[in-house]
Symmetry: C2
Subunit: 322 residues, 2 copies
């Protein structure tokens, strides 16, 4: 199963989002347009708008009024990417040169802020205070997550709780908000809004754990960045946390992961220790756990064909072929 297939029921609407994204990059300033368009064209799976649309489809059939909000969610996501690339000094993302690499820090930071302001303009158009409050709150919590990530790097004492909090802020939160807002715009009941918020949350957690697994096991071609990027940058993810507790070489692993210099120089050895532990399998087990919790939330939703799609997405999440 491919992403494309998962999103089949909303394929037409996703195309409208895609057009909308480009149309909203219309500054008077060439460089800003070029950089923002580069970001939009670099692709991505448009997961956040997809969930806004799927969640709304649980309650309304005609999604025309949802396109703008779905577009705003993708813009917020793109803005965070372009800022992250400045922070991490990244030159590549999904196999494409970053805005930071092509245009530098000033353009990247301003392109991010420009896109964010555009997302605000789009979200404001609904004239719904509750939607804006959800977005503002999520934005603040995502910033907090970036700082958790920072203070956790090269910290071999971080545990599961710290990791879960980091990936919650990094990924789960915005997917959760996408589902929640889709439900809100579909005028779902508070119970249904809450169920979709939770569905998105658990699914987002499963997504990010899967992503963190792939950083160990997938090829550079699949990742669009070098295998082991996390380890090289001292980002300690679930397989590493498992290995730090259960690997026979955990003392050596600790010594290596605690040092930026050793993370960079000895990353192949680090990857080997982690892969040889059961860290990857354990992480797959955790994605299963989150996917199960996501599926359970669907009981609260009305019986519509899209419910089956949401179920399949949660089913598909922890698959290794992802």
């Amino acid at each position: 199963m491919q992403h494309k297939q998962m999103f089949n029921p909303i394929a037409r609407e996703l195309e409208m989002v895609e057009n909308n994204l480009s149309q909203n990059i219309n500054s008077d300033v060439d460089v800003l347009n070029q950089a923002s368009m580069h970001l939009v064209k670099a692709g991505g799976k448009r997961i956040r708008p997809a969930f806004v649309l799927l969640a709304a489809r649980c309650f309304v059939n005609n999604l025309e009024s949802v396109i703008t909000l779905a577009t705003a969610l993708e813009l917020i996501h793109l803005a965070s990417l372009v800022h992250d690339d400045v922070i991490d000094n990244s030159n590549l993302r999904r196999g494409t040169y970053t805005v930071k690499h092509e245009w530098g820090n000033r353009v990247s930071i301003n392109a991010g802020n420009y896109i964010l302001a555009r997302a605000l303009a789009l979200s404001s158009s609904y004239d719904r205070k509750d939607i804006l409050e959800v977005l503002a709150d999520a934005s603040m919590r995502i910033c907090e997550g970036e700082i958790y990530q920072m203070v956790s790097s090269y910290n071999v004492d971080v545990g599961l709780k710290n990791y879960l909090r980091r990936i919650e802020r990094k990924t789960a939160l915005l997917i959760s908000v996408s589902c929640k807002l889709g439900a809100m715009i579909g005028n779902a009941s508070p119970e249904q809004v809450r169920a979709l918020e939770r569905y998105g949350y658990y699914l987002g957690m499963a997504f990010q754990v899967t992503d963190d697994i792939l950083d160990f096991v997938a090829d550079e071609d699949v990742l669009g960045k070098p295998t082991g990027s996390d380890v090289r940058q001292g980002v300690i993810t679930l397989p590493a946390i498992y290995a730090l507790h259960h690997s026979p070489h955990k003392q050596e692993l600790k010594r290596l992961l605690a040092s930026p210099a050793r993370c960079a120089a000895n990353y192949e050895q680090i990857l080997e220790i982690i892969i040889d532990s059961d860290g990857i399998d354990y992480a797959y087990f955790v994605t299963e756990h989150f996917a199960r919790k996501a599926r359970k939330q669907l009981n609260y939703l009305p019986d519509k064909p899209v419910k089956e799609t949401l179920f399949e997405i949660a089913d598909f999440m922890p698959a290794r072929e992802y």
Copy 2:
């Protein structure tokens, strides 16, 4: 006359804004709080909230409901400062170490985004689409200004029009928006909203030209940064543009200003050429021109004591003692 005096009629409300600023820095993440609080405590004249309040006072006496919006405007301004310091790699601002210097890029970018999200939350609380649209539009145009600034550096062919567009985006726009929003929240007529928007615009232009003059003539103690910072960074402001056209040494000035290396190494010589031209006096003349235009807008406002204050502020703007 001091800033404090100018803002006397709203001194109590500005104090409420000050408290509000600190109260809105309440993340769960220590580093984010410390960095954001550092930014708030580094001070500044709180010009933007002051204009929100003064503009609203033209139409309503009790400003309690305006405090939140005034706070949001200052937060938006502070967010842009902390991002600017990353872009410009600045270690000092107003004589205080920057967040960038103390905590680095990751914290600075996220603190800026956090503060911006907080400003959005505050602005959303009014449940007024028109206010959010003004803010979103201004944010986009300010980003555009940053790029104008970038592409204009070390460019000795820039003229007056380019300079005016740059300072419009850098300073005038947010002061204009502050005045406009104050009027909007005071339920002023469209004509009055427009008059205060223009008043803020012309005043902001006068402000920034004065600031650019001070970069040539004020002491480091007054500026909180070294004299001639603009020249050293290749930022070509009004006195320089004048000198590039009228100085007897304009060829030499051109040669120097066009090169980053020479701007950094020969800035004292550059300052001398510009100060020896009539560039400073010309720039003062321009501030007078803008201040006059600002004062003229006040004719559209109801006769209230605060109108006199707005008049005095515009009168005071181009004074050298500023």
